[in-house]
Amino acid sequence: MSSAVKTQNLLKGLDYSVLQQCMHCGMCLPTCPTYVETKEERNSPRGRIALMRAIADEELEITKAFGEEMYYCLGCLACTSACPAGVNYSELFETARADVEKSAVLASPKRDFIRWSVLRILFTRPRLLRLVGRTLWLWQASGLQSLARRAGLTKLLPKNLRRLEPQAPTIRAKFSHQLIRPIEKPAAPKRRVLVLTGCVQDLAFSDVNRATVDVLLANGCEVHTPPVQPCCGSLHAHNGDTDTARVLARRQLDLINPDDFDAIISNAGGCGSHLRAYDHLLHDDPVYTQRAAAWSKKLKDIHEYLVEINFRKPAAPLGSPLAGAPSTVTYHESCHLCHGQKVSSQPRAILKSLPGVELRECAEAQWCCGSAGIYNITQPDTSAWLQDRKIGHLAATDAQVVATANPGCHLQIQSGLAAHGHPATEVAHPVVLLARAYAAESDHF
């Protein structure tokens, strides 16, 4: 069996120079949350790469311990920002996780069922996902959820689910397609863009999608928003299911022709990081290589694009200062926005443009909040430690609003703030704040 595993070993199939790129200087260590937590090399980027290289060199089998290590890694990519040598950790990490799944060292009936139902069923069928979202909304909006909580029924849930239940996103009454028309035009369109609405963003933060369209309209963009969009596949790629990730990427490219638009806009850090790497994901695809390359060139994070087109700075509202409007904001950087996409100054430029608002920097703004995709489900202890650390730094700024641009971070920080006694602190996407500022310009008192 071991030889069978070896021949399938995807790490071995990688261009060896990707593995060799790491010269183990250790510059990544202080930025890696799991290394800082344990101070053991195996839990560091350099240590993990050493294990991957040992597998490629056939000095180590793909073992259960290796599998666990690959899922202990947050995939936050802080190491890639710290790495002077430019190691492509993202590719190594996704390949290693795919190896772990292929060799089934972590397989169990429960894990397999969850992976299958989430990755293969729920997040490949956008209409089904919306149906589940609608059901969850009914549960929350009808009062059944709070009734169940008050009656203590949630205590009957298994421990893991009980812990996560308060973190379940509050589903919006209206999803993106109910808030956004397929094509919306400003008075005098200067550019044509397409907005990707995401999966969790679509169900729990459709207001962010609406705001994204609003700020683009306010900056002369004709905005196209297909009402039904496939999942981008980031969840799959980050969790070792590259095959499904490729299927979903091809589906996306079938739906959207990048040549029709000046830019394709993503507003979720995690999705954007994966979306802009379609060129690499499909680099050896017989049909889609070119289209994927064109796609990656057009793919822009919303903040990045707004700064690129020199977005209009909102004017102070009439009768300012706006009574009751938040005047202090701090910014938590989504890992996959700052490390994955290297978009860091642009969201700040947007926040600084808000009239009468002071941006207060927090410590460790680029540290993971512990959400990390589904990490808060798979590694609750480390996730909670990171959440506490993050909330401490955010609270220290005493800002009224925490701005962040990724749905996972949004939920994690929201539930953390509530749990730490800061329920009044608002969590908001920078674009929502910008849309609000544009809207306030014309408000009369």
Partner: protein
């Protein structure tokens, strides 16, 4: 007695969670920051304090197992690369800063404390810990002492040795001793403290360090001078020193290096320059302004095509951080990056650079050069591929010639990285027979059974 028995005893005495033995756990301890060297140890142990270290050394002695001490494993001479069957004694979990004494300007920390944290702790009370090795964000103070690390500020402020006032050391037999004191003057007995600084883990295990701190300089100014020829940059360095100016930092980067650094750090380095000098002066604001003006004048007089001054402290810090990434950033060019550390008297700099260029050409190798030129400390870095045996052979030949050229000029085979494994073959040539034998005599008396990092520095 067997390895397994030793591991069981270590677990029993220190606790199972303090001893790593699984293959997945110990594989990442098989190397440090040095290219091409690796060796799997028997186990990795995390002591809590000097008493734990003493326990480990005594057990290792009973079982005749070699002990390799390490911190964060960022060394550049293979000093902490394990040996077969070795116990790796990893001190990173002993990382507390124990005392900042503002009355005596000292700081006491455990050996695993991170250099950057020591700098920050001093900075927070208006004091200054100058040694700043490239890896200071993660290197441990114990590792800095063991290698006597230098850094960018070596020219004006010296190296780690110049700041160590006292050490707690565990000897090979497990006894714990304290060497040195908080006294500025202290001549009681032999200066044994200095013996352990730069001893690369071969004489004992440093578990605590007492450091000297300085008042924080009131002002700093950073200048970036751009050159169209490497020679001109080297001559500027000699001119600055000859003008009796000792800047805090005087760094050189050639074109290959500065391009790699710029690709990573994006701080606006001139990609077309043949070389740049990064100069920092610090001290009293008036002195800094005066020195900066003189340095700028000297740079221009010696062929700098432009001289830029950092406008803010943040910009200056960015430039220094970018420079610290030079070695790792060079890894962008080829799969294997082998860093040299030869140092020559400063008057020999320009000719040494030319010699390195000739050697690179002769052996058809890609060599980038950067370094602390104010110290005469060069880092010619060979960019190669360890899987190409023919090329690796040429690398070895080139190294030998670089060493020849260095020694010919009265230089040293290592300025700040240590001998470790990488420089071991060349040490005897530099020291001569009597000095070399003296080293072995010291080793023999402190570690008679040869269990502390054996095979490092010399066989």
């Amino acid at each position: 007695m067997s390895e397994i028995q030793l591991m069981d005893e270590l677990k029993a005495r220190l606790g199972a969670d303090r001893v790593l033995t699984a293959r997945e756990d110990i594989l990442p301890y098989g190397f440090d920051g040095t290219a091409t060297l690796k060796q799997l140890p028997a186990c990795v142990v995390f002591p809590r304090d000097a008493a734990d270290v003493s326990t480990v050394l005594k057990l290792a002695r009973e079982h005749r197992a070699p002990v390799v001490t390490r911190g964060s494993g960022t060394g550049l001479s293979g000093g902490s690369v394990p040996l077969p069957g070795a116990v790796v004694l990893c001190l990173v979990k002993m990382d507390r800063i124990l005392e900042v004494d503002t009355a005596n300007l000292t700081l006491r920390a455990e050996a695993g404390a991170i250099t950057q944290k020591i700098y920050d702790a001093a900075d927070a009370v208006g004091l200054f810990y100058p040694p700043d090795p490239g890896s200071m964000k993660i290197s441990t103070i114990g590792g800095n002492v063991a290698e006597n690390s230098g850094g960018l500020r070596g020219l004006k402020y010296g190296v780690t040795r110049d700041y160590v006032m006292g050490l707690e050391v565990v000897l090979a037999d497990g006894s714990i001793c304290w060497l040195g004191s908080k006294c500025v003057k202290d001549v009681a007995g032999y200066n044994l403290r200095d013996l352990f600084i730069g001893s690369e883990g071969t004489l004992g295990v440093v578990t605590q360090v007492l450091l000297k701190l300085l008042p924080k300089p009131a002002a700093r100014q950073t200048l970036l001078a751009t050159y169209t020829a490497m020679d001109a940059a080297a001559e500027t360095v000699s001119a600055i020193i000859a003008a009796k100016i000792i800047p805090c930092t005087l760094e050189f980067l050639d074109q290959k290096t500065l391009r790699c650094v710029e690709d990573f750090a994006k701080v606006g380095l001139p990609r077309d320059a043949a070389a740049i000098l990064l100069v920092e002066t610090d001290g009293h604001p008036a002195a800094v302004a005066d020195e900066a003006a003189k340095i700028e004048e000297l740079c221009r007089a010696h062929g700098a095509s432009s001289v830029r001054r950092a406008a803010t402290a943040a910009e200056a810090a960015q430039l220094a951080t970018a420079r610290r990434s030079a070695f790792s950033a060079l890894a962008r060019l080829r799969p294997t990056t082998i860093l040299e550390d030869v140092t020559v008297p400063r008057s020999e700099l320009a000719s040494m650079i030319r010699a390195v260029e000739v050697i690179a050409k002769k052996h058809d190798l890609n060599i980038a050069t950067f370094g602390h030129f104010g110290d005469g400390n060069l880092h010619p870095t060979i960019l190669t591929d360890e899987r190409n045996t023919a090329e690796m052979h040429r690398v070895e030949l080139a190294f030998t010639e670089i060493v020849d050229e260095t020694l010919k000029r009265g230089g040293t085979i290592t300025g700040e990285h240590g001998v470790g494994l990488a420089k071991k073959p060349f040490l005897k040539r530099q020291l001569g027979d009597a000095s070399y034998d003296l080293l072995r005599l010291v080793k023999k008396s402190l570690d008679p059974e040869g269990l502390l990092n054996p095979g490092k520095i010399f066989d």
